[in-house]
Amino acid sequence: MLGYVSWRDVLKKLTLAVTMQRPVSSLPLSPGMKLKLVGAGFQSTADLILLKPLQLSKETGLSQQEALEVLQAVRKDGGGGEGSTSLTALELLQKEEETRSIITFSSQLDAALGGGLPVGKTTEICGAPGVGKTQLCLQLAVDVQVPQCFGGVGGQVIYIDTEGSFLLQRVIDVATAAVRHCSLLVEDDEQRAAMMTFTMETILSNIFLVRCHDYVELLAELHLLPDFLSDHPRTRLLVIDSVAFPFRRFDDLSQRTRLLQGLAQQLVAMATRHQVAVVITNQMTTRLQGNQSQLVPALGEGWGHAPTIRLLLQWAGSRRLASIFKSPGNVDATVQYRITSDGFRDADQSEQPQRKRPRTQTDQSASSQPDRRLLRCLSDV
């Protein structure tokens, strides 16, 4: 009986098991029952967990009593583990839509990212020195605090500074400008009340700063971070500026790779478990290929697989460009931005480079423009 099947029905059936699954054959049931289950196509406990006894008995030919027994065995088995929730794809989609993004105050970049930097994911920002990585980080540290009635996330931020570039003078500039920007947008009483909690002082009080002088201090801080995040559930952003600096001078490269992989795993786990956006900045380095040298993100090729989104900030003449070159949900795009006394903003010219192209396409033209070469070699990495 094939009726109208909507995409929601499809997603409902798509069960995502987030825990360990046991095969059906390992359940404490009689062999006859197990045979019927396997015969009907049920291979593991995950397949059974959301079914009702009536559905199960219909599909397998078991009696209702037997179906109930099966489900009890499955539930008893899978109910002990922590975090053993299975979600349907529909529930996951709804959860993703609810999760807000952190705006950057550059509407072009926010649009290209689908709203802003996503909470719950890791984003890497790479670029040459002076192009604006720290500026974007400082902007995000202020923007994450924009109250929800203004379209922000209203969260706190923990900022790990390894280079010493978190200068209060600049943070105050950015914070004051953001407060000014929001106060101009006030339309109703709710927003007016929210502005009382969004002042330069409250912004500074919601930025938790850590200074790490070497990679061991960074690893120590990351180890203790889950406790901090549990104590401060309003934290929605973790910034590490930069992750490259303490790792550049490393004698044992295999140890460095191992440490970075562990670090990446910890960051991903923290991002999802505590619903924070993780932003890390990376430096650029030159890679020699034969006679040619290319500018690539530092920390090795393996590191590139860790973050969900990769943003490349680069110069093109006197213009600053931000390119998204790895993003599962968005098409790769390039926008122009500028750094003003107020912070990270859109470029004021209406001229934007038309560079919206799918990720699989590689630019073969031998262009003298550095940004195309960079994007091409990055898509090879």
């Binding site: 010493g164 938790f208 850590v210 203790l224 490259a244 380095t285 500018l295 003449g317 750094i339």
Partner: protein, 340 residues
């Protein structure tokens, strides 16, 4: 870091101590590997990691508001080292930041050494006059130290620093507090930076470190094939400088030379000022917090019986400064900004 300082069950600490070289190493090994190396259970290893992390971490997260009030002494409190001229200080929003490496690049004769000498004097003033109440150590790597020029600058301080009462200027013994070192190659520079300089810093005798110049050391010693070795040495040097700067909240000024830009790859480091780019490439640029450039412009400027060719001090990048520049001139009393 002492094993005894760990807040840990002594049994676990003793077991870990036998297997690992130091407390720091605990954090560099993964959980399962720690279990394997020490033979401890999973929960014991978790306790060990937590204790090691708590010991290795310098301080817990601090709200930035506390920095604003100056309540956190170990943090950057907005302290800046004045250059000695209010117009140039305006460009730099106060002066050099005290925790980080500032680079001053430019062609020869642009005025870099002049500015560095001026800073060696301005650091000696009290904090309310933009100084740090301490001396300076000046490391020369190529030419001999311009002692005559320093003496001339000292004599003319009262003409430069009109904001400071003359009685105070007369009381300061400037030449006593400028420590001059010579380092002809990288090895002797590393020795100087790991022995003599930390001693001066720890005793509070100096609060400014000048290296004039960085490029000279790397030009002569390495051929183009030794590129990797050169980068490694560069990172070691910058790491030492950075560490000294952070440890003693001392501004570090590195003077650098420039090269011509003819390779389009160099565009990626930003729009070059007048076709010149600081030497030592990307590896060095990544380690520098504030990059300034000094150029010689066409034209001269006269004032009374003195004349000077026009200079320009530019901010190439800095976390707290806009890309901007300021015209300047070099007079008998020092470098002064010029409002045209």
């Amino acid at each position: 870091m002492n094993w005894n300082q760990l807040e840990l069950n002594p049994r676990i600490a003793a077991t870990a101590r036998r297997a690992l070289k130091s407390v720091r190493e605990v954090l560099c090994v993964s959980g399962p590997d720690l279990q394997r190396l020490t033979g401890l259970s999973r929960s014991d290893v978790q306790q060990l990691l937590a204790a090691a992390a708590a010991a290795c971490r310098r301080h817990p997260p601090v709200p930035a508001l506390l920095l604003h009030g100056g309540q956190c002494r170990r943090f950057e409190s907005g302290l800046r080292l004045s250059v000695g001229c209010p117009i140039l200080d305006r460009l730099l929003r106060g002066g050099l930041p005290v925790g980080g490496v500032t680079e001053l690049a430019g062609e020869s004769g642009a005025g870099k050494t002049q500015l560095a000498l001026q800073l060696c004097l301005s650091v000696q003033y009290p904090q309310q006059h933009g100084g740090l109440d301490s001396g300076a150590v000046y490391i020369c790597t190529e030419d001999s130290f311009p002692i005559r020029r320093l003496q001339q600058l000292i004599r003319e301080q009262s003409s430069l620093r009109l904001d400071v009462p003359p009685s105070l200027i007369n009381r300061l013994q400037f030449s006593d507090h400028v420590y001059i070192e010579h380092a002809a190659d990288l090895d002797s520079l590393q020795v100087c930076l790991s022995q003599r300089v930390p001693l001066l810093l720890a005793r509070g005798l100096v609060r400014l470190l000048v290296v004039d110049s960085v490029a000279a050391l790397f030009r002569s010693e390495f051929l183009t094939d030794d590129w990797l070795e050169r980068n490694k040495q560069l990172l070691t040097l910058s790491s030492t400088l950075h560490h000294l700067s952070q440890e003693f909240t001392t501004p570090v000024l590195c003077i650098n030379q420039v090269t011509d830009v003819f390779n389009s790859l160099d565009d990626s480091l930003g729009p070059p000022s007048s076709g010149l780019s600081p030497a030592l490439g990307l590896a060095w640029a990544n380690q520098v917090m504030v990059r300034l450039m000094m150029q010689r412009l066409q034209g001269t400027i006269t004032r009374g019986n003195q004349s000077s060719s026009l200079r320009r001090l530019e901010v190439v990048f800095a976390p707290h400064l806009a890309r901007d520049g300021q015209d300047a001139a070099v007079w008998r009393e020092g470098v002064r900004g010029v409002d045209r």
